[in-house]
């Protein structure tokens, strides 16, 4: 319905067909997010050879493996650190980080805030399904209060994180959020992020139907997708004193734009200057 490019987007051109069908559970929102990402890549005309996908550990980490491009599957929480090195060494590559809520905010929380602070030209796609799905459904930093997980059998007692506010405060160039249900809108957001010169942090609200949805009785896959439609699970986003980090309503779209110098340029100028001095001295 919303195609702009004259030639149609065929997702098979971007997938490793020998690995399909992918390992994600039935109804998992990560597949929809992957489609939106590839769609955005297609519409921006990014060459697969110049595309580097770095992913961490977890369900989201496996998403990158199905993309027929240069993909790196690195240690838990470190995709942003790896991508920083990659982007500094090869500034010609388009570097995309696919990470999850646990990977990005818990194990790699440290790397996230420093990647935001540096503002290097990386697009970070955080697939937020509010749980550690692959390891059996443990509580994650974005699990909403009172939700049941395998490690919180009496309901989660910790407040949940608003990752977008964190990224904005840490200085990320572009911060956005979208739900998987709005696939064309998600594609547009990812396009903005890819086109942005600087660090763009995009939170994708995904669904874990098999583990999180089942344990919390959130309905089947279709119901969970439909629940994203408006205020999206409002009980998870109450803006009370107990939930200081949560917006009372799930705001989507571009949430913050913080135009600062891109770090790669600064770094290369400094490196060139230092190299020049070294040459003169020799």
């Amino acid at each position: 319905m919303n195609e702009i490019t004259p030639d149609k987007f065929e997702i098979r051109d971007y997938l490793r067909l020998d690995l399909m069908p992918h390992f994600m559970c039935p109804g998992c929102g990560h597949g929809i997010a992957l489609r939106a990402l590839l769609w955005a890549v297609h519409e921006l005309g990014i060459d697969k050879d110049n595309l580097a996908i770095v992913s961490g550990i977890g369900c989201s980490g496996r998403v990158g493996a199905y993309i027929d491009a240069n993909t790196y599957h690195v240690t838990h929480g470190r995709p942003l650190a790896f991508a920083t090195g990659l982007k500094l060494a090869r500034p010609d590559l388009k570097v995309i980080v696919i990470t999850g809520d646990g990977d990005c905010l818990a194990i790699g929380g440290n790397h996230l805030i420093h990647a935001c602070r540096r503002n290097l030209d990386i697009t970070c796609l955080m697939l937020n399904n509010e749980v550690y799905g692959m390891t059996g459904g443990q509580v994650s930093p974005t699990t909403a209060e009172t939700r049941l997980t395998t490690t919180t059998p009496a309901g989660n007692s910790e407040p949940a994180f608003d990752a977008c506010k964190l990224a904005e405060a840490a200085g990320a160039g572009l911060v956005g959020r979208e739900v998987t249900m709005q696939t064309p809108a998600l594609r547009n957001l990812i396009k903005e992020g890819l086109a942005y010169e600087g660090f763009s942090f995009l939170e994708v609200m995904s669904d874990c139907t098999e583990i999180y949805g089942r344990k919390n009785d959130l309905g089947d896959s279709a119901e969970m997708v439909l629940a994203q439609k408006s205020d999206m699970r409002p009980e998870a986003y109450t803006n009370s004193a107990e939930q200081p980090f949560r917006p009372n309503r799930l705001v989507t779209g571009i949430l913050a734009r913080n135009d600062r110098p891109e770090y790669g340029d600064t770094y290369r100028r400094q490196a060139a200057a230092l190299c020049g001095e070294g040459d003169d001295a020799a």
């Binding site: 319905m1 195609e3 004259p6 065929e10 997702i11 098979r12 997938l15 399909m20 069908p21 992918h22 994600m24 559970c25 039935p26 109804g27 998992c28 929102g29 990560h30 597949g31 929809i32 489609r35 998987t180 249900m181 696939t183 064309p184 139907t209 089947d220 896959s221 279709a222 119901e223 997708v225 439909l226």
Partner: protein, 310 residues
């Protein structure tokens, strides 16, 4: 009041000599409620019992609006229920053509008067084919067909008549004038009640619109039922050239496409794999393709989707 009296009165009502029923239908913004209020107040000034009941929920989005007006045939006659039973409306006024056709079962088969504006307000959900410039699925009945089916029928292009008069928004007043010819109330009372309801500064144009509608009925013409309306649209459900490519080995039976398809044209087969159940209903909207997490569905438009953008 004893049970016997109530029963006797109820019997009298079922003999349907006591109540006059006027059903007014249209879509949002056409003035359905205004007409019914004029009529209801007029009945009150004549000393009749009157009940009015309306639905105008989604009116501002072009949704359906209808209003039931019931009043006693003479002073003292009771009106029991505020809604008109099916097949008992004495007059059906339709501001919008398809709404008129839809409410026809409410009209009294033998003596009912059908008054309809032939203007068409095509709702978004009639646009089943999402291609540009595609024919919408809209009522295909022509005014001559309908007017031939009812005992007394008037189909007039009130929208255009009001526009020629100087204000397209007076179309409802024209239909009110047409209605006045079917009811037995003095003309002066009609006009004085109408004056209380129309916005300040439009009294004169509404008076002229009212008289125009009233005269339209009384003007002899060769075929009163055929005022040369805009031609009805011929296509009800156009065939759309869409092909769904389903990769069976990739489908994981998650059901998202089946439940989120707006046309409900998909289902799961005996092996729990998605299939296209109703190919004719598919409009090629691509929602299943977008929301399939397993990329099992691809929608192909055999004809170019947007001819003008090529």
């Amino acid at each position: 009041m004893s049970i016997e009296t109530i029963a006797a009165e109820a019997d009298a009502v079922t003999a349907d000599a006591l109540t006059r029923n006027v059903l007014i239908v249209g879509v949002g913004g056409q003035g359905v409620i205004m007409i019914s209020k004029v009529l209801a107040l007029l009945c009150q000034t004549q000393g009749l019992q009157v009940k009015q009941s309306e639905v105008h929920g989604m009116a501002k989005r072009g949704g359906v609006v209808f209003s039931h007006v019931r009043f006693g045939a003479k002073a003292g006659d009771p009106v029991w229920s505020p809604t008109i039973p099916m097949g008992e409306a004495d007059v059906l006024i339709a501001m919008e053509w398809a709404e008129g056709v839809r409410w026809l079962p409410f009209l009294r088969a033998d003596t009912g008067v059908f008054i309809a504006d032939t203007q068409q307000v095509i709702p978004p959900f009639a646009c089943r084919n999402r291609d540009f410039f595609a024919e919408p699925a809209y009522a295909t009945e022509t005014p001559s067909e309908i007017v031939g089916q009812v005992s007394d029928g008037f189909a007039l292009d009130a929208g255009r008549m009001a526009e020629e008069l100087g204000n397209a928004r007076a179309a409802n007043t024209i239909l009110l004038g047409t209605l006045s010819a079917s009811l037995d109330f003095p003309l002066d009372d009609w006009l004085s009640v109408l004056n209380q309801f129309v916005p300040k500064g439009t009294e004169e144009i509404n008076r002229r619109a009212f008289l125009l509608g009233r005269d339209w009925v009384e003007t002899p013409r060769e075929n009163p039922a055929m005022p040369a309306p805009t031609p009805a649209l011929p296509i009800a459900r156009p065939g759309i050239d869409v092909r769904l490519e389903i990769t069976r080995s990739w489908c994981k039976s998650c059901d998202i496409c089946v439940k989120l398809c707006p046309e409900r044209c998909l289902d799961l087969d005996d092996q729990q794999i998605v299939r296209l159940k109703d190919p004719d209903a598919c409009t090629g909207c691509r929602i299943c393709e977008w929301l399939c997490p397993d990329f099992a569905i691809a929608v192909h438009h055999e004809t170019p989707e947007r001819p003008h953008s090529a």
